[in-house]
């Protein structure tokens, strides 16, 4: 997989309490060729699915009842090693700079504002996945011959 991974092989996890948004993102991703997409409308299930699915990218809604996007990122904090680039793309209708700053410091890598444009979402996903795969490639290359797992 680390040779020349195809972006469409990437594992993408969608977390949004609104079923409508989940269906929309799933279909957008499917239409663009992404085959490994899993989604959740209940954010409390994120840690378990995260461990099982090992996503390359997390699409996360910020405003959710009970457990919001910030709390989800806090839950994922221990699961994402510091030397691993695992992008979290935030989907939010809140454009206030302080919210963006807070999300960025909590571990988010990029934002898409709702209502979003399909092309913009796909481009951001593509860019983040490319960066993710470059990081994986660099880590793989950095491991001495014979030690790579």
């Amino acid at each position: 997989m680390l040779g020349t991974p195809r972006l469409t092989d990437a594992r993408i996890l969608v977390v949004d309490d609104e079923r409508v948004n989940v269906v929309l993102l799933e279909r957008i991703l499917e239409q663009d060729g992404y085959r490994n997409v899993k989604s959740l409308t209940d954010p409390s299930g994120v840690p378990a699915l995260f461990d099982e699915f090992e996503p390359d990218l997390v699409l996360l809604d910020l405003h959710m009842p009970k457990l919001d996007g910030f709390a989800v990122m806090k839950l994922l904090e221990d699961r994402i090693s510091r030397d691993v680039f695992l992008p979290i793309l935030i989907l939010t209708a809140d454009i206030r700079p302080e919210i963006k700053r807070r999300a960025l410091s909590a571990g988010a890598k990029d934002f898409v504002t709702k209502p979003f444009d399909r092309t913009e979402v796909l481009l951001r996903i593509q860019n983040l996945l490319e960066t993710r795969f470059l990081h994986l490639r660099m880590r793989h290359d950095a491991v001495p011959e014979g030690q790579a797992t």
Partner: protein, 413 residues
């Protein structure tokens, strides 16, 4: 609450209580009946008692049955509605992504959509814009939903009107924009509030055009002349998102702008982080109204910048007669060049206002090593006790001083 999270427990408890009472009363009725045949319940009083017991048992049984059927039916109905919502969502998403090639996209035109279908497409329109959003709006118009919302927004019935305005806001239909602007002058504040919100989100997706008749210009005129609370105007400006810049620019450039709108515009520039408007915001730094002077410096603080042209005004504001202006100026002074900030803020460690002292010490600490050193020096040897205490407090909060050293500096045992 229980309807959502405790349905199963509530149903079981109801069943247990009513079941227990029904069985007990049933047994009592039976024993009375048996007694009647054996001559035990033979008097008229016992007959009446028997009638009461039987009717109570029947009423409880009926009520229990009703509650159980209610839960059963509402559960089925919820599931059916969720299925319907899923089906409609899939259909609308298909339509948005594939366009008119979606099966049935034209066949169903002009028939009235069920409520669940409208709910589904409105939720979707809150998430998607561009070509996909336009397709959904076209479909809504094809079914006459847009004109139905607009008709209901003219309704005399308040709930129907508010419901329609909210839906127009979700749908962001440009054809409803002028009607929403008209509703900004409605007699009821709640209608004006909802309409301002809906007009803001609608304008946010409309293409920017110029000229006195452009939607932007009409929106500006409407908010200038409508009787709206500052919070409502601010919300509608925030909802303009990326379209807010030109409108705020025009508002702040207007010398005739009311104080209340100028205050709102400054707050919104800061909240939206529109750093390219810092110069324009600065023009209000010597406004006669202290609320506006304070809003100007709060705006600069939020933008994290003080334009060169604003430095003199900011330094002057640090000595303003009004303390809340000095507070905001002291906060904004953290973004002056370090040397200027040091010289300007240090004297305010002994300001009369606790809040100004706090803002000055906080801004000094944000200047980096040189600022922290000044605050530390003040904590150790400032002749003014209030200045020493504030400096200690700020150093403690910034983890730049240990609690033991703080106790020593303030002389607290």
């Amino acid at each position: 609450m229980w309807r959502r999270y405790g349905d199963a427990v509530y149903t079981l408890m109801t069943l247990a209580i009513f079941g227990f009472e029904t069985i007990a009363l049933g047994a009592l009725s039976l024993s009375f009946l048996l007694g009647r045949t054996t001559g035990i319940a033979s008097t008229p009083v016992e007959g009446i008692l028997l009638g009461i017991v039987i009717s109570t048992a029947s009423a409880l049984a009926l009520l229990g049955l009703y509650l159980l059927s209610y839960h059963f039916v509402s559960n089925l109905r919820d599931r059916w509605q969720a299925d319907q919502l899923d089906q409609w969502t899939e259909w609308w998403v298909g339509l948005a992504l594939t366009g008119p090639d979606q099966p049935g996209a034209h066949a169903s035109d002009r028939y009235r959509l069920p409520r669940v279908a409208v709910h589904s497409v409105l939720s979707l329109l809150e998430s998607v814009k561009g070509e996909e959003g336009d397709r959904l709006k076209e479909a809504l118009a094809g079914h006459g939903v847009d004109s139905w919302f607009m008709r209901r927004a003219r309704s005399g019935h308040l709930t129907a009107k508010l419901d329609a305005i909210e839906n127009l806001g979700k749908a962001r239909l440009p054809q409803a924009f002028d009607q929403l602007l008209g509703l900004l002058h409605h007699a009821k504040p709640v209608v004006r509030r909802m309409s301002a919100r809906a007009a803001g989100v609608t304008l946010a997706i409309m293409p920017p055009t110029e000229g006195p008749d452009s939607p932007h210009a009409r929106f500006i005129q409407a908010i200038k002349h409508a009787d709206l609370q500052p919070g409502v105007v601010q919300e509608s400006l925030l909802l303009l998102e990326t379209r807010a810049g030109p409108i705020l620019k025009e508002l702040l450039s207007d010398p005739e702008l009311s104080d209340s709108l100028r205050w709102v515009a400054l707050e919104t520039v800061g909240r939206l982080g529109l750093a390219d408007m810092a110069e324009l915001a600065t023009a209000s730094c010597d406004h006669p109204d202290p609320e506006i002077r304070a809003a100007t410096f709060r705006c600069l603080r939020r933008l994290g910048t003080v334009p060169e042209g604003a430095e003199a005004c900011l330094l002057e504001a640090l000595d303003d007669d009004v303390d809340f202006v000095r507070i905001q100026a002291a906060h904004a002074a953290a973004f002056l060049p370090a040397e200027t900030a040091l010289a300007a803020l240090e004297p305010h460690l002994q300001d009369d206002s606790w809040w100004v002292r706090r803002a000055a010490a906080g801004s000094l600490a944000r200047l980096g090593e040189i600022g922290v050193a000044t605050v530390r020096r003040a904590a150790e040897s400032h002749p003014d006790k209030a200045a020493r205490e504030m400096a200690v407090q700020i150093l403690l909060e910034a983890d730049e001083m240990s609690p033991a050293a703080a106790r020593l500096a303030t002389g607290v045992a």
